[in-house]
């Protein structure tokens, strides 16, 4: 069953066309990763789906409800953890949660009970009495997530939940998201981090300049770049010879002293090494490399995703002396 269905979403802010026909489908129980660089239109998409802005054109349904025609009904089905934490620094963690519980008509006792439940679930029980102004970034983010779970939403929208978090807090947040999915919540999360989408999402939608440019599982997207490659580094004196030798059998691309060959599997690596050995070329480094989502992005758009993204393409192989 589709829990989120959006078709042809358009949104223009003055000169900027933030959305240029976004289509989106999310099945029940799925984690969808909405991946794209800064300014791609992720937040605008989330804002449309969470009733915060009306699109100029297009339709959007959440849990079967048309969010444009009946935003009030849609609000009962969704939870939003926006790009900026929606917490009051002057309130304690528990007070923050109780407030939202009261607004969701859980009643006083119900709101308290639900707050305690979530504080425990998100590992915040011990700091429940502390004002959130004193919280670390990771704690705030988890509390923010807890706040959007109070009403047990059918769909949870998370806008860049881990941007700015340290790795430890990020892992804790990932764990929290996974356990929500395990309870049956459908989740749409946006991220600029390719590794995060890879790690969390069942399916990834890549968005750029307000358009969906790819849609599939992480594995499918990686396939589109042509599978894994074999990389060999060689000394300057032998690089021309090595290229010539390898080019007889494979399509070789060269980047300074690094030669890259499409790999069918580990077998290719063995063959490359044997061939080089026969021609007296000693590699300085070899590796079999899985494509990363960075490659995906590059292949789809012809440009790097985001200069700020940490490089993850360290060759996963042994380094010869």
């Amino acid at each position: 069953m589709l829990v989120v269905e959006a078709e042809g979403l358009h949104k223009r802010f003055g000169e900027v066309e933030a959305l240029r026909g976004v289509d989106l489908q999310v099945s029940e129980g799925e984690i969808l990763g909405l991946l794209g660089p800064n300014g791609a239109g992720k937040t605008t998409t989330i804002n449309v789906l969470t009733t915060l802005i009306r699109p100029d054109a297009g339709t959007a349904r959440v849990d079967g409800i048309d969010v444009i025609a009946d935003p009030a009904a849609a609000r009962g089905r969704i939870g939003l953890t926006g790009q900026f934490a929606a917490l009051d620094d002057g309130l304690t963690a528990r007070e923050n949660l109780v407030l939202f519980g009261r607004l969701l008509k859980l009643g006083s006792a119900g709101a308290w009970a639900r707050a305690d439940e979530l504080l425990t679930e998100f590992g915040l029980a011990e700091v429940a009495h502390r004002r959130t102004g004193t919280f670390s970034g990771g704690m705030r983010r988890r509390l923010d997530l807890a706040a959007s779970m109070i009403g047990r939403p059918r769909v949870l929208f998370l806008d860049e939940p881990t941007t700015g978090l340290d790795p430890h807090s990020r892992n804790a947040l990932w764990e929290a998201v996974r356990s929500l999915r395990a309870e049956g919540t459908t989740i749409v999360l946006t991220t600029q981090y390719l590794a995060e989408a890879d790690e969390l999402a069942d399916r990834i939608v890549v968005i750029d300049h307000g358009k969906v440019i790819a849609d599939g599982t992480a594995h499918e997207l990686k396939q589109r770049t042509g599978g894994s490659t074999c990389q060999v580094g060689v000394a300057e004196s032998t690089v021309d010879r090595a290229q010539r030798v390898l080019a007889e059998r494979w399509e070789v691309s060269r980047d300074e002293l690094l030669l890259t060959i499409p790999a069918a599997g580990p077998q290719t690596l063995v063959e490359v090494l044997r061939l080089l050995d026969e021609h007296d070329v000693a590699p300085t480094e070899v590796g079999l490399r899985q494509p990363t989502l960075d490659d995906v992005f590059l292949a789809l758009t012809g440009r790097a995703s985001n200069p700020a993204t940490p490089a993850t393409e360290t060759p996963a192989g042994a380094t010869a002396p």
Partner: protein, 263 residues
């Protein structure tokens, strides 16, 4: 665990406003600068104006305690309004407005709760100032009904000012800018008025403006209901009420729209 344990919550105008107003009051009560702005600063101004100007005003034949307490009360109402604009901007620039707007709650509650919270604060300032005023020699010279009218007019003014400043806060949504613009509005409104000195003290060409601007008109009414000897009591009150009603209507029409526009 089923994700649909609870029924879809329904917006409730009263309950949502009460919850959010409670939040606002609780946050203010924990912010030292809010408490100073609500209690200490109005007292300091009352004390300073009375101390510095009482001598010269007596010479000019004005009973300054009667004259200035309504003025500092109105000033405190504007402090509430400025506070409202800052809170509105904070909610709008953080994620709070977005979350509230994505929740199944009353659409007007987030805006109205800010107003309600600030009016409670304004009432506190008013009570503190009147008590201090009795120390300076201020008296309610008419009956109890007029005391209530005084309170109603002051709080009405606070409501109109708060609504206007809330529009500003949500529309601009940046704390520093909101503070700056709010201040630039506040000074001419309060200083080019008859709040602290009578309109006759201003140069002739400025007097029509000073006499007729809303803050002066409301101050006239506050003085008329607290001090004996004002002619045209009914008319003075009516003009103030019309100003308050007109401004309040205009701003309450705009405020939810400004809130809806928040990014």
């Amino acid at each position: 665990m089923s994700p649909t344990l609870i029924p879809t919550p329904q917006p409730s105008f009263v309950s949502d406003t009460a919850q959010l107003a409670g939040r606002h009051l609780r946050l203010m009560s924990r912010r030292p600068s809010s408490i100073i702005g609500a209690i200490v600063l109005p007292l300091v101004f009352a004390f300073l104006f009375f101390t510095v100007l009482n001598g010269v005003m007596e010479r000019a034949g004005v009973d300054y305690a009667q004259y200035v307490i309504p003025a500092v009360v109105l000033q405190a109402m504007f402090f509430s309004a400025i506070s409202a604009s800052v809170w509105a901007a904070e909610d709008a620039s953080g994620g709070m407005s977005a979350r509230l707007r994505s929740m199944p709650i009353s659409r007007t509650a987030p805006v109205l709760s800010l107003l309600v919270g600030e009016l409670v604060r304004a009432l506190l300032s008013l009570v503190v100032l009147v008590i201090a005023g009795y120390g300076f020699g201020f008296r309610f010279e008419r009956g109890a009904g007029y005391v209530l009218l005084f309170v109603a007019l002051a709080i009405g003014c606070a409501a109109a000012a708060c609504a206007g400043y809330i529009v500003l806060g949500f529309a601009i949504a940046k704390v520093e800018q909101v503070q700056a613009i709010g201040g630039l509005l506040y000074y001419p409104l309060l200083l080019v008025s008859n709040l602290f000195v009578p309109a006759e003290a201003f140069p002739g060409w400025l007097q029509p403006l000073v006499e007729n601007q809303p803050v002066s008109r409301i101050a006239d009414a506050l003085r008329a209901v607290s001090t004996l000897g004002h002619e045209d009591l009914g008319r003075t009150i009516l003009i103030a009420v019309l100003w308050i009603a007109g401004l309040l209507t205009a701003f309450t029409f705009l405020a939810p729209r400004a809130f809806g526009r928040v990014r």
